[in-house]
Symmetry: D2
Subunit: 414 residues, 4 copies
């Protein structure tokens, strides 16, 4: 039965000398379903194979059937500590008001740091946020016999837009093909297929749509074949081309913080904040960092885990730029620009148990709420970078992690 499936042979190999022949041990995970019993049986199988006791993994509140489409071979759930940072006052196009933001993390001091920045922003009148664009894209590559054929393809691509749009959109109710951006290289042509995807993250949706359009192109043009991904699109990776937008939501948050708010909440003057910006920018430049920011990855990761986002998209979402500037009046103007923020409020893990509850905390459940969620995220990382910059400026970074971090008790010399 399903409980003892060994790894199949690859045909033709085998025998005593076969280095891959691990027949005795290499069993496949049992092919069981999503019922509570199946999950429990699978978990017991894993416990037996690995010797681990998985009691807490098994104590998940997530009903098994709800996991279908989100995970295979389920054995329960991982639990990540959840804190809350706020108040965070936002004046955005979609997010307006005061928010308390759920953050799932195990890094001591992280929530406290974001809370401090949020409080400073709030006392300063809140963060202004603007969502510039909300798209997603796939970039297949088409292969040609030579440079001439590739060039003709690029030149004629606009002619085919309507039929490609029809092909692509025949596979989806929500994805809309906005435009094509060809990027020829040698005798191949990568093409950005740019979509609006509604409130879903939509990669599966637009990959399927694009593949349909690609099939039309391979059948009707000089393209000999295609690969559905070229890597150009920047999905789940840090890439310089993300700054031009088109991969997710482009959002900018900014705020003017009076000097007294800086000092009172951040323990740093606007001049000190600008000084930190200047010197750490040089570190980013010398290190070959894409963009510049204090720790977008921290805030985004904690928010993504809490809210059922695809956390691997932090790789592209955290590429962005923070600015600190002293205004003519002596205040601090601080901004966060995220050109490629990938967030959703429907699909993926957004409907699951704790994720849905966290989205409720933000008033971001369901259709129509993704822009609001993106604006909250931008204000959040602005708060975090204010707090981080201030900790560096004031020299309080070490102290803060001493107070809140895990390592303190176990560390220290005699």
């Amino acid at each position: 039965m399903a409980m003892n499936r060994v790894l199949p042979e690859a045909g033709g190999e085998g025998g005593p000398g076969d280095p891959g022949n691990q027949r005795g041990r290499a069993e496949l995970v049992p092919r069981l379903g999503y019922s509570g019993e199946d999950i429990a049986a699978r978990r017991r199988w894993v416990e037996e194979k690995t010797g681990a006791a998985l009691g807490q993994v098994g104590a998940s509140m997530l009903p098994g059937e709800a996991l279908r489409g989100n995970v295979e071979n389920p054995i329960g759930a991982a639990q990540v500590p959840l804190g809350v940072a706020g108040p965070l006052l936002i004046a955005g196009g979609h997010a307006r008001g005061t928010f308390y933001v759920p953050l799932a993390t195990t890094e001591g001091a992280l929530v406290r740091s974001y809370e401090r920045g949020a409080a400073a922003l709030t006392r300063a009148g809140g963060a202004t946020v603007h969502l510039y664009a909300d798209e997603n894209r796939v970039a297949p590559v088409f292969l040609f016999d030579g440079v001439a054929e590739a060039a003709e393809f690029v030149n004629r691509l606009p002619e085919w837009f309507e039929v490609l749009k029809a092909e692509a959109e025949s596979t989806t109710r929500h994805g809309k093909l906005l435009r094509l951006e060809p990027r020829p290289l040698g005798r191949e042509v990568m093409v950005h297929f740019c979509y609006s995807t509604g409130d879903a993250h939509g990669m599966n949706m637009i990959v399927k749509a694009t593949d349909r359009a690609c099939q039309w192109l391979v059948a009707n043009t000089a393209a000999r074949r295609h690969l559905i991904f070229s890597g150009l699109e920047g999905e789940k990776r840090a890439a310089g081309s993300l700054f031009a937008g088109g991969k997710g939501k482009k959002v900018v948050a900014g705020a003017r913080l009076p000097a007294r708010v800086c000092r009172a909440f951040l323990h740093a003057t606007p001049e000190q904040m600008a000084d930190v910006w200047r010197h750490t920018m040089l570190g980013h430049v010398q290190g070959g960092t894409l963009g510049y920011n204090g720790h977008y990855a921290n805030g985004l990761t904690a928010l993504f885990i809490a809210c059922g986002q695809d956390v691997a998209n932090v790789a592209n979402s955290a590429v962005g730029v923070t600015t600190f500037e002293v205004t003519e009046e002596g205040d601090l103007y601080a901004t966060a620009t995220l050109p490629s923020l990938t967030m959703a409020t429907v699909g993926g893990g957004t409907g699951l148990g704790t994720a849905r509850e966290c989205l409720e905390m933000l008033g971001c459940v369901g259709a129509g709420q993704a822009p609001k969620l993106a604006e909250i995220a931008a204000a959040l990382v602005l708060a975090g970078d204010l707090s981080m910059g201030a900790a560096i400026a004031s020299g309080e970074f070490v102290q803060a992690h001493e107070e809140y971090g895990r390592n303190r008790p176990a560390e220290g010399g005699a």
Copy 2:
């Protein structure tokens, strides 16, 4: 009492026109502790403020006191679906044998994809893995009056190594200062303080140690002041300089897959795999990606969440390079190189409930196990990139996500 703390004034402001005056709403999160009652009270306060019902968030198995040092303002836990991928046969310096890897994700098809790659690797005889280096670093910047003073500092830095080592190590039992790497720029000097950190991730540890050493330098040299972070170190960000190593663990995994194993498990020939590599490399180059890989971020994120790692470190850990090559014998040789993998088996979230159980599944609980965990991660992402590359080569990517992904039922035309 603590339940109704309003955001404090910043001193001197206030009055009707103060744009930051949100006195009526902007309450701070109550300062409560880590007892179950405190967490419940805080959660109820959040429910009241936001209108969200947080029942599942509150159903955490993580005892409150255990969260101290990992999260502030705790209200419970986020749950992330947990699946298992394997068997994954590894011949490493530290990880040896067959593993079943816990993956926390909400992306349908992800576990199945890694499972497929793991099975192929296993049938091929397993992945060979080598851990080249295991370090961590902090890069403070020192500011000088001019270029001449900066130059003298750099030239004399070796003289001060022993005293700096003593200063730094006076703050920690586990961190060992290995060397200093100065990087002058203009009239400032960034210095990599490079440490071994034992089995801990160790950022807090080495930041504290480095700050102590910096204080000595500011007191005893021409350095006027320092900032504890310059950004050069590459912590939680993607940066080109990570390839040179020094930030976390440098690990390489590789395997020779006989052509028949490729075809049987991956539905692609070695030649097709090399073809995908070649064409998607061009997409990465044209897109300005750091490094090249299929989707390290996916596997690492899922493993990091499962195992209580600092998930924001995926930003640096996922910078790496995959290779697919056809051997002279017609087989596939595939490798994954991760120059900056940040993983730990003590400290951080590694001791918490489900995280500890997931580490048990891998035999990686506690001191001495971080190298083993890093080798498993490297083999895992190699498995994932094999499967992703094969899905692109064979054209099965869309089909796989149709079968396992969440979006299918809600999508589709008539």
Copy 3:
């Protein structure tokens, strides 16, 4: 008189302790004109100040008045050895036929290497070349009070296109404003002003045009001020964003080289060439190189010096990608993609003495010839990368530089 002008005081300083007071020595170069006498007098002044004998510098064939607009404080000309590489057979949209390419260089073996690649291309039937785009751009930055004002500016920019086009084009007969591409960041907005510039390089032209348009924007919108350069445009610097095009000419050259041509002319098989591509690509990736190519900078620099181009533009022009691929028939398909090639046939140094003669060698003198010149350049660097790749593949690199390079006689052990 003009021959003894000392460096002026900066007002208010002076006196014995002034570290900048080099009154005794710091004379300015005499303000003389462009006549032969003036140039000779200036040169003698330099000879006197520096002790150098500048006889060959003074033996320039370039008549002095012709230098006005190309150089200030002229004292003669530098001479760079000029060789010729060919035949180079090209089938382009603009360049068609066999070319002998002038290359100004002092690197032994360079001309021989390009000649070898050109011969191979020619024997293979020539290089196919396609010019995708021919533009130039300036990217000023506009500063705003806050994020909201910046966002409104971006949103309304399309409304202003016609008036901006009229303003910009009022300053030039040749530059045509094609489109505006805004790139907001924080509370500022960079805008690519994209032009066609006819056959001129056109930076001065479009900078002036853009500045006029910027003045209109500062006068009529919420933009508080502007800086004419933000650095985003990629002028004379290597930048990842150049791959998307818009800075100069985007050109692709490609050729199919039969295996026997590879072996006979390049001493390498197609498989060896693909092997070199694969391994050196990994070196580029690990080194954080922008793009990938063997040595575009060599060929472009030599051609730019010969043909009176702005040689500093090699910094952006040499960012590109070479591919070597074995075809299904066992031949080599090789390509060179230059997304940002900056070349001109009018203006700059293109009309001067030897430069004009070199352009005549290529049939590229005067208006209408810049696309042809760009196509020749693309075929040239393809030739150079074929030869370089082959030298690495065959192990002949050292031998070639031994035979042709300067260093051999002076080097070597006992």
Copy 4:
């Protein structure tokens, strides 16, 4: 005879359908020598083939035999207008005093711009310059059967250092192998062979030396073969890894400019200069530029052409970082950092006619002078970036190019 050599067949092809059969036209450049007669005959052949009259090309002062080792197929010389910028006061470790710098360019206003910056630096007391390192390197790649063999190679490499040093240095009197830096990737290992090269640029020297060492490694270790270049070394290309040093000379120039000097010479305040730095830094970051500078490529290219340097090395040399900072006293502190400056005073074109004269202007002829030349270059680009930054700050950029540039007369509306 040599004057009519047709392109040889590639063996086995030919016949009417051969697309590469250009037998009628595709003649090779005649194989003639370096005597004046040979050069003239070759030039006449080119004139005949191309229809160009090459009188000025032929008027070279460079004696033919002197070109051997610097160029093949010589037909004369290209002439580039030469101006002079100064006074430039430098307080370096090697360059000390006031310099007048030869610049070969055809860009109007360039010399004037560098002259202005040089005068400002001089009035401010000069530029302080420090040379941090002076090395060159080659990075071959070694190929192995698998990851395990590659790892063992890396681990044992230190054992072999002495024998490799002996092998490498057996081929050269000047190159000294300093250290080896292995960079494993998958199953291959790139190794930086780092040398001091005396006053020569030394690439040919160290490539030959390295190749010898590689042969020993291939003969005596598990390395199956090697390629002499991996691309990792960053020769003649822009690469992020150049910031870590090791490719050429690492030089830093800096100066404190009193506010009154800024205003008098640059027409900008220190605050305006810092403002330009801040905003143009953001443009560089958003554009994905390596490093940050105003126009190092301009000054370096003009200096390299004048002084017989390998001009293609500007591609790596121009990667660097400029800083402008307001000091506590209200002055400007400006710096230029060039991590990878490739300059020489012996070998290459340094001994040729005008090049040697230009080196004489700087007191940099012959052995022992390369560090001095590098320091002058660093001060020069600092001068240029001061002037460029000031032109942007003051809005005078357009005006300056109107006054000095070539395009003015031909441009302009009614």
